[in-house]
Amino acid sequence: MGMINGIPLNWYIILSSILFCIGVVGVLSRRNAIIIFMSIELMLNSVNLLLVAFSTYHADPNGQVFVFFTMAVAAAEVTVGLAILVVMYRNTKSTDIDILNRLRG
C-alpha cells in the first residue's frame, strides 16, 4: 500500500531523516561558518525531498509549490548570510564561529 514505482513511502522518510541528521552533525561538529551554512542547506534539501515525496504520493501539487517557495527563501538566506560572512571575515580575518562568542557593537 502506498507505493509508487514499487518504492514504499517509508524509504523516502528514512532517507530524508538520514540526510537531516547528517546536517545536524555538521552544524554541531564544525567551526567554520561556511561549512555550517552548507549543513543547513543539506537539512533544507532533506525536508524538500520529504515534501516532494508526500506531494507525489498524495497526488497533490501544493507540496511541490511549497518546495519552490522554500528554494526561493533559501536562495535569499544564502545571499544575506554569505554577505554577513564576508563582513565578518573583513573584521576578524577568520570564519571561525568560536571567535564570535561576544557579539558587541
Partner: protein, 165 residues
C-alpha cells in the same frame, strides 16, 4: 524492481557525499561533495515524477547557490591550513547526538503508513499543473517572494559596502 535498485543506489550516493561534506577537511571539497548530493537528490525527484522541481533544484542549488559558496570560499582564500577544528570529544558528542536524533526520528516514523488510497496520477509534478497552481492559488506569495529577493539583494549590497555614510 528496477526503480527500487535505482532508489537505493541514488540514496547511497546522496548519504555518502553528504557524509563527505561534513567530514572532509578542505572547504572546497565540501562544496563539490554538496553539489554531488544535490544531483543525487534531483535524481530522486525525477524518480518521484517531479521533473520541474528536479530541474529547479539543479539550476538554483547546484547552479546558483553553490557557485556563490565556491566564490566566497575562494575570495576569502580558505583552505585546509586555515581550517579551525573542534576538540575531539566535541566531534564525538556531535556524532552521538546526530545518531540519537536519527534513532528517534526513524523509530517514530517507521510505523506510519497513513496513505490508504493510491489514486496516483503522473500529472502532479508536471510543469503545467504546477504553473496553474502557482499562478492562481499561490499568486500573492509568488509576488511577495519577489519583494523578499529585492530586500535580500539590497541587504547584501549594503552589508558588503566598505563605508556607509
Amino acid at each position: 524492481m528496477m526503480q527500487q535498485y535505482l532508489f537505493l543506489i541514488l540514496g547511497f550516493f546522496a548519504v555518502l557525499s553528504a557524509l563527505m561534506v561534513v567530514f572532509t577537511r578542505n572547504p572546497v571539497h565540501s562544496v563539490l561533495y554538496l553539489i554531488l548530493t544535490f544531483f543525487a537528490i534531483a535524481a530522486e525527484y525525477v524518480l518521484l515524477n517531479a521533473q520541474f522541481i528536479a530541474v529547479v533544484n539543479i539550476i538554483v542549488y547546484a547552479g546558483a547557490i553553490m557557485v556563490l559558496f565556491l566564490f566566497v570560499i575562494m575570495l576569502l582564500n580558505l583552505n585546509k591550513d586555515t581550517e579551525p577544528h573542534k576538540a575531539q570529544w566535541m566531534k564525538f558528542g556531535a556524532v552521538v547526538t546526530g545518531g540519537l536524533l536519527l534513532l528517534v526520528l526513524v523509530g517514530s516514523l517507521k510505523g506510519t503508513e497513513t496513505i490508504t488510497h493510491t489514486a496516483f496520477d503522473n500529472s502532479a509534478g508536471y510543469i503545467e499543473t504546477l504553473g496553474k497552481v502557482l499562478f492562481t492559488e499561490f499568486l500573492l506569495p509568488f509576488e511577495v517572494s519577489a519583494v523578499l529577493f529585492l530586500a535580500a539583494m539590497v541587504g547584501a549590497v549594503m552589508l558588503t559596502k566598505k563605508d556607509i555614510k
